[in-house]
Amino acid sequence: MNNSTLLRVDKRDARLVMAHMYVAFAALAIGGLMGLLQVFVRSGRFELPANIGYYQVLTVHGVMLGLVFTTFFILGFQAAAVSRTSGTFTAKQRLTSWIGFWIMLLGTVMSATMILLNEATVLYTFYAPLQAHWIFYLGLTFIVVGSWFVIFAHMAKYAQWRKENKGESSPLLTYMVVANSLMWFVATLGVAAEVLLQLLPWSLGFIERVDVAITRTLFWYFGHALVYFWLLPAYMAWYVVIPKVIGGKIFSDSLARLSFILFLLFSIPVGIHHQLTEPGITEFWKFVQVVLTFMVIIPSLMTAFSMFATFELRGRELGGKGLFGWFHKLPWGDARFTVPFIGMAAFIPAGAGGIINASHQMNQVIHNTIWVTGHFHLTVATTVLLTFFGIAYWLIPHLTGRVLTPQMNKLAIIQAFTWAFGMTIMSGAMHWAGLLGAPRRSSYSTYGDAAQAMEWIPYQIAQAVGGTILFLGIIFVLIIFVNLCWFAPKGDEEFPIGEVDKDAEQTPKILENWKVWITVLVALILVAYAVPIMDIINGGPLGSKGFKLW
């Protein structure tokens, strides 16, 4: 690691990061409560009080957790990561970040207000031709544009570091932030085009019709990269932070960078695997994107190897013997390790489920069933979320000048096991019900007492049980958050940054040559999307007027 690296994040940068964290955890509280209401309603044993609709609650849940919690947490974490490994932001970089933060917050308030007024019950995927209030779309635009300000500030810091340290390999964590930010920027161009060129002018009445297939294709061009935008910060913590927490070394700097480059390249030209059962896209282009989707599994396999290599090397260093003896030597009492580890373990079934979902015609078995909901509650709501919690347990006290006490550490581990238990029940029931055909995103219904629909109900009750346990987990994590913000004892909590194994070789220069990777990325996007989008434009039907069916 470079000598200029600061051990402590500067106070002014810490305030910036904490602003993101307050919004993120407020969104977690609201979104979590909405999740609880949903599983209750869907059990058939509970009805929402007057005038609150199931789909309105579902929209709040998706927007708060899928868009607001994740984006604010990730951009806050990435700001801390850059500040810690590449140095304190300049006044200009920090100001740019703050501007971005306020634009995102304004956008969040605008969109949330419209959802609460029941003017935007379109779920967090806002598929046309359901038409929300224009302020909802403008708010989403602000969230995206604000995030661009934030990532530009981070990338400016990286550029500055490169200039000041010519010829050196950049700090690994900053490098990863840059890769994720680039991916986010290229992906959000799709959703920006969807909202700015189509949905916003359409909701304002400037244009009468939109092409539904184009809006969906642009959404999913962004939508799959979105899930990797959630996952990569978790990978950052796994590659760089966890080795330090357990007292080991980073297995390989170059392989870590290579896996991030592969994510950058293969997260975007794969969105059509979310549209496999749709008309308007031919079988051939669907299959092309299925193949590209499978490519993005490779860096995850590499990551799994690196993680377990680090764990085994450290476990053996601590005296672990035999094939699995090293496993017991790992620091299971340390929440900073155990909480993300449970997340990692969840990624094994989660990833396997993802391969099924992306498998072309096999997708018909589970498409839009609650299996899919079960799938992403393992990926984003367990793997990513528990890793984020694991990050928060050292990052927040580091920033607030406090420490994680043994009691809070214990509660954090209890929280993670509670989460794993609740999620096993809820996600498991969702997967099974999905295989029996139960639809996702649907309120309680017996479909006229249809025999097949009656089979789903016990699973829905199980989901309510699991969901209730998960809500208990949300309460635990909020207790820890509040403690770490305002009540924990003052002290110095480490921001752990791993060092590279001394046997690891020099990082190849090509990995830092962004021109090459951006060129490859653009080429892949053109290969995957040029023809399908031209087909839709050329062969597309009459566009759609807006509908408000809620």
Partner: protein
């Protein structure tokens, strides 16, 4: 770039598995014809009721085609036309469906029939109904307040009885 020997094995095994999966999926799709519904036919969604075959939703026997029946379905918030259909067991059916308003789903519980209906597009799928029974069709794409009430019923029956 140096790779540890075990990592080479692991990556080879991993990529090998992925290639194998893709070959299986690809043979199923391009050799055996198990493709996801991917019709590119279009329609004016505002004129659905006036256009053949959607002006007469329901099951029709056809001859000289690779399938025995055509099932024409019109979806709109929050119903399918027809609401119920009787299909002789063992017959091959081509489902031809579209929507008059927003995006709807078309998932036939207990079968692999699962497709999106989007305004302006016609969705098609050919399948054989080889088991007697009642099959619930649900809308599995959110379409508004009544989304969870939107259903249709297939009754696959033995006509000889």
């Amino acid at each position: 770039m140096h790779l540890h020997r075990y990592e080479k094995w692991w990556i080879t095994f991993g990529i090998g598995s992925l290639v194998l999966f893709l070959i299986i999926v690809g043979i199923g799709a391009f050799h055996q014809g198990h493709q996801p519904p991917s019709s590119v036919k279009t329609i004016n969604y505002e004129q659905v009721d006036k256009v053949t075959p959607f002006n007469e939703p329901g099951l029709t026997k056809v001859s000289g085609k690779d399938w025995d029946y055509e099932l024409v379905v019109v979806a709109s918030a929050f119903m399918y036309m027809p609401a119920e259909v009787e299909i002789p067991v063992g017959s091959t059916v081509k489902i031809i469906a579209t929507t008059k308003d927003v995006v709807h789903g078309y998932g036939v519980t207990g079968t692999n029939i699962n497709m999106m209906l989007e305004p302006g597009y016609i969705s098609e799928y050919v399948t054989t109904m080889d088991k007697i029974g009642e099959y619930l069709v649900v809308c599995n794409e959110y379409c508004g307040t009544g989304h969870h009430t939107m259903k249709m019923m297939y009754k696959v029956v033995d006509v000889n009885e």
